[in-house]
Point group: C2
Chain length 201, copies 2
Amino acid sequence: MSTPAKATLGRPRLFDEEAVLAELTALFWRQGYGRTTMAEIVAASGVHKPSLYRAFGSKEELFAIVLRRYLAERMAMFAALIDRAGNGVDGIHRFLEMFEADAVSERGRDGCLMVMASNELRGTLPGYEFSTDYRRQMRERIGVLITQALPEEQADSEFARARTDLLTTYLLGLQVIMRSGADAEEIHHYLNAMHLTVDTW
Amino acid sequence: MSTPAKATLGRPRLFDEEAVLAELTALFWRQGYGRTTMAEIVAASGVHKPSLYRAFGSKEELFAIVLRRYLAERMAMFAALIDRAGNGVDGIHRFLEMFEADAVSERGRDGCLMVMASNELRGTLPGYEFSTDYRRQMRERIGVLITQALPEEQADSEFARARTDLLTTYLLGLQVIMRSGADAEEIHHYLNAMHLTVDTW
DNA sequence: TGCATTCTGTACCGAACGGTACCTTAAGCA
DNA sequence: TGCTTAAGGTACCGTTCGGTACAGAATGCA
């Protein structure tokens, strides 16, 4: 995707592109797109404005790069979580526990950058189909988790799909709750509702 | 709350305050707070800027007024829906159907103004405890719906509370999906997951 | 009728915004 | 070492932002 070993012509770049993108991801995540100014981006990255514009384009293009990178990372994280969760209904419990551990962490409190962006930027510029992609990819990952939890003959049933949809929607709602300032106790409380529901599966 | 029959001194106001607030609610709902400029607010309301500032204060105070008004209206609407839904598990089904009718309407596509605001404005200024209020009040209303659906001896059980929490979180997630550009079919699809879940209660 | 009070409406303000021109510096290559 | 290329860094640009000063207009009250 990126080209770390680019043309060796001219003065080499002094900043680490990946490190800068990671820093700016955290900044946008905290503040949103609209409330983050170029001055703050310059300060957080430690890179001067013209260098940022040459490397990433406009503020909007920069945010698109951040979003794409975040989506890929997030989906990889989800897949790893689901893989570690293991099979059976217990796998769902373990997944929820790992999800909670992330949710109460400093980063998790901010909810999901993608959910935030889809709320803030819906219908502004072409190319923002991120939110649809996110929902679709997240649903796919959750589908794997549900499949792991069910006996083979139910893996393709209507109930399996309904449980996938329910869990997907529930997790999106949980991210709203996380971003809206809930503390660890309240997050635990809402997660418990899904634990109890899963027990009836 | 408002004082329609105020002091009769001086020149009377030419615009209808409630109508202006309704118009501006729709504007903020569509665009969010940050992406809406005072120039657009002036255009949408048909009221000149100094009159807006005298009537509502700054842009931020205006948005706070809009949010408070929206919260009250929305909760009244929820309560009415739940009242009309009636008792038993069928009541939940009817509630979901009415919720869907609203979700696929022109307004419903934008999700929930409150969810949007809590995503966009988290931690910006004091006085934005709206998101917590919203979550708490919404959970209360859903609690009534669940209570109506259960036999009396289960109305105060742990399961009743878990179902309330699950449905609340689910509805928040659905509002994310609604705002992120899902069409009527996809909304129906995700709602079906909850219908099937409710059937197991 | 004249005064006090409140709203309308034009025209404007300083500040902050996203974005860039341009010079300097550092590298590869001949 | 001189040329080409690309990045660093300063200083600045035009626009748009939220917000307001001020004069005119419309009401109640004496």
